[in-house]
């Protein structure tokens, strides 16, 4: 599904990723943990192709294709989805219009027919129910005046509608109370299948009690310094990241 090889990337001239490698197979859930400044969010932004994130060397293959050669929107249409740590408010554009534009783009890429307004509405209502967002949110401006938890649930709603093959969750759990966390985790778990893969970037082990990962990686100083299974997450929770940084040095 995704192969990242020796990825070196910088933001505003500052090198953040220092030779990161990661191999993700279909259906796997990989958790990436690490201290602040380790490069967790940078990884998500480099994968999606955000402007200002410069890849210096290394390669990223997505379904065997050179992903770094694609534009932001082409990556999304090919099946990559990033749930933002800080979803953006876009007043004046309804959530519904936004979702329709996104779903149309994805479907047209997959050579599927455009959904009728009726079918689309039905799908959107079902998805909003699954993430416990009132259907009224679909008519409001994108994320406009949404609470932190509502914004995160709106990300999951988009993910459900777009049916990506690789989902990157960038600290989706940060700032969520237990109920909202449960909703987000249920949404993710409902989408898990043998084809779809996840990268769950988080600062806290708590999320991984709800979304059980197949692998846990520790990111420090822009590279993966330790990998293991879900037990590694518990160890990190108990000991903190300090011992690993010692190990790297």
């Amino acid at each position: 599904m995704l192969q990242i090889r020796e990825l070196v990337a910088s933001v505003e001239g500052k090198q953040i990723l220092n030779g990161l490698s990661l191999d993700i197979k279909p259906g796997e859930v990989h958790a990436i943990m690490g201290p602040n400044g380790a490069g967790k969010s940078t990884l998500g932004n480099v994968l999606t192709g955000r402007e200002g994130y410069e890849v210096i060397s290394g390669e990223v293959l997505f379904n065997g294709e050179d992903m770094l050669a694609l534009d932001i929107e082409e990556r999304a249409r090919a099946g990559l989805f990033l749930a933002f740590q800080y979803p953006v408010e876009i007043p004046g554009v309804s959530n519904m219009e936004f979702l329709k534009a996104a779903v149309d783009a994805r479907r047209s890429h997959m050579k599927q027919e455009e959904l009728s307004s009726f079918d689309f509405m039905k799908l959107a209502r079902e998805a909003s129910k699954k993430v416990s967002l009132d259907a009224a949110f679909l008519k409001r401006g994108v994320n406009e005046g949404f609470s932190g938890g509502e914004k995160k649930r709106n990300e999951i709603l988009q993910m459900m509608m777009l049916e990506p093959s690789l989902c990157v969750l960038d600290e989706t759990d940060s700032g969520l109370d237990i109920d909202a966390l449960q909703v987000v985790a249920d949404g993710v778990n409902a989408m898990r299948d043998s084809e779809r893969s996840f990268i769950v970037v988080t600062h806290y082990q708590r999320l991984l009690d709800y979304i059980i990962p197949d692998y846990v990686h520790v990111l420090a100083n822009g590279r993966i310094v330790k990998s293991g299974d879900k037990e590694l997450a518990r160890e990190l929770e108990a000991k903190g990241y300090g011992w690993l940084e010692g190990e790297v040095a």
């Binding site: 534009d71 929107e73 876009i90 007043p91 004046g92 534009a101 783009a105 994805r106 890429h109 777009l162």
Partner: protein, 450 residues
């Protein structure tokens, strides 16, 4: 100072028209004032950022003799209203419907209405003194022939909007000068919706053409406890020039809601002059101006708070692209007696290209000591983070840019209470913004490969 070539020409054309005799004296006085007013230059404050030089190209223009047969847009026909259509300044009976008993054209007025028009016309505009600012009101008076009166008696309510459609059809080869006049008088406790819709029949192909000038002056008196909803859409095409004004006098406890939209046109200058003449009056105004190519759109608003306990809220947005320019001047003048005034003015601007320009200037002048007054003007570019967010969902860059521009103006647009017009404008603006985004993307590519 001698009148310039345009001034002389405009007056001589006005003179050559067959005019409504009732206005002879008014026309003569106005013509004199118009000729005597020094042509505005860069040092004239009211015209500082807006040059009138292009009007000199109109010295061949004349008035239309008769109204052409045209096809009205579906959205216009879909609005349930009392509709009056003027084409190049001339009444077009075939496209107009019946008028309510409270309304008439000046040329069809009965004796009582004639007397009323003569008594009231010019009384709302006349509250302004500065002559350079009134230049085009003088010209409008000097051309007075026909116009529309809506006079609602005490307590009456107009059951459908009065919808004035002003269509411009002329081309560079036979440029026209058109002067429109509207007088709305709402007696105490009455209520009415009024729509003024200026449009061009066809879109000009060459933006260097100067086809015509429209000068639309509207005067509205809102009586005590009366309610007005006024919409003015200025959607004339690329080659058209519109200079006009909306003058509102608000009485005690009256409420006026205004919606203004300016899109396209070689030059548009619209002045809103609003006066709170009685305590407890309220004004709510939403507006947007959208300029592209080499267009220039200029809105001046001036609110006079003369009495206590009045409110005003103005929310005006602008999007300027290509090499276009927009000017917004929002003045709020709170007189000494206007205690407990609440006044807010918000002007936000979006520049979608490097060559675009906006000059925005909120002006507050406050002489009362117990008022709440807030104002803000911002100029920004499309939000890169929001663009990234949209693209990360698979939305093409040009469409993402369109959505952001559209969203920015749609917040204001959604205040328009006429569904068919709102929907057609939403479609029109989406098409416009996607076109603009594609064009700027193509230019960027050419720039990079050069």
């Amino acid at each position: 100072m001698a009148a310039n070539e345009f001034q002389q020409h405009a007056l001589s054309v006005a003179d050559s028209q067959q005019a409504n005799a009732a206005f002879a004296e008014r026309r003569a006085i106005a013509a004199e004032r118009f000729a005597a007013t020094a042509w505005p230059g860069r040092k004239t404050e009211a015209w500082k950022y807006t040059s009138l030089r292009s009007l000199q190209e109109l010295t061949e223009a004349s008035f239309a003799e008769q109204a052409k047969a045209i096809e009205l847009p579906e959205a216009v026909k879909a609005v349930d209203s009392y509709r009056l259509v003027f084409v190049d300044g001339v009444f077009q009976a075939d496209l107009s419907g019946d008028l309510p008993e409270f309304a008439c054209r000046f040329s069809e007025a009965n004796a009582e209405q004639k007397a009323f028009i003569n008594e009231k016309l010019g009384t709302v505009v006349a509250t302004q003194t500065e002559s350079a600012r009134n230049l085009f009101s003088y010209l409008n008076d000097a051309w007075l022939h026909d116009g529309v009166l809506l006079h609602l008696p005490r307590g009456a309510s107009l059951n459908k909007p009065l919808y004035l459609v002003y269509v411009s059809t002329s081309e560079a080869a036979n440029a026209t000068l058109a002067h429109q006049r509207l007088l709305v008088w709402l007696e105490d406790n009455s209520q009415a919706n009024v729509i003024e819709h200026y449009l061009s029949e066809s879109v000009a192909s060459n933006d260097d053409d100067v086809s015509s000038l429209t000068n639309g002056i509207t005067e509205i008196h809102v009586g005590q406890n009366a309610q007005l909803h006024h919409t003015r859409l200025n959607l004339e095409d690329e080659a058209h020039t519109h200079i006009g004004g909306v003058h509102l006098a608000l009485s005690r406890d009256s409420v006026a809601k205004c919606f203004a939209l300016g899109e396209g046109g070689r030059l548009k200058r619209i002045d809103y002059q609003i006066s709170h003449n009685g305590p407890g009056a309220e004004l709510i105004m939403h507006g947007a101006y959208l300029a592209r190519n080499k267009q220039l759109i200029d809105y001046h608003t001036c609110i006079e708070h003369r009495e206590p306990h009045c409110n005003s809220l103005e929310v005006i947005r602008g999007i300027v692209g290509d090499k276009a320019k927009a000017v917004f001047n929002g003045r709020i003048h709170i007189h000494q007696d206007a205690q407990k005034t609440l006044a807010e003015l918000h002007n936000r601007n979006l520049l979608t290209s490097n060559g675009a320009e906006v000059d925005t200037k909120p002006e507050l002048e406050i002489y009362a000591d117990d008022v709440k007054c807030a104002h803000g003007a911002t100029v920004s570019q499309l939000d890169e983070t929001a663009l990234y967010y949209l693209q990360s969902r698979g939305i093409e860059a040009a469409e993402a840019r369109m959505l952001l521009s559209y969203g920015f103006v749609n917040e204001v647009l959604s205040q328009l209470p006429y569904q068919p017009l709102l929907e057609s404008l939403q479609v029109r603006l989406r098409a416009r913004f996607i076109d603009e985004a594609r064009k700027s993307a193509a230019e960027k590519l050419i720039g990079e490969s050069a």
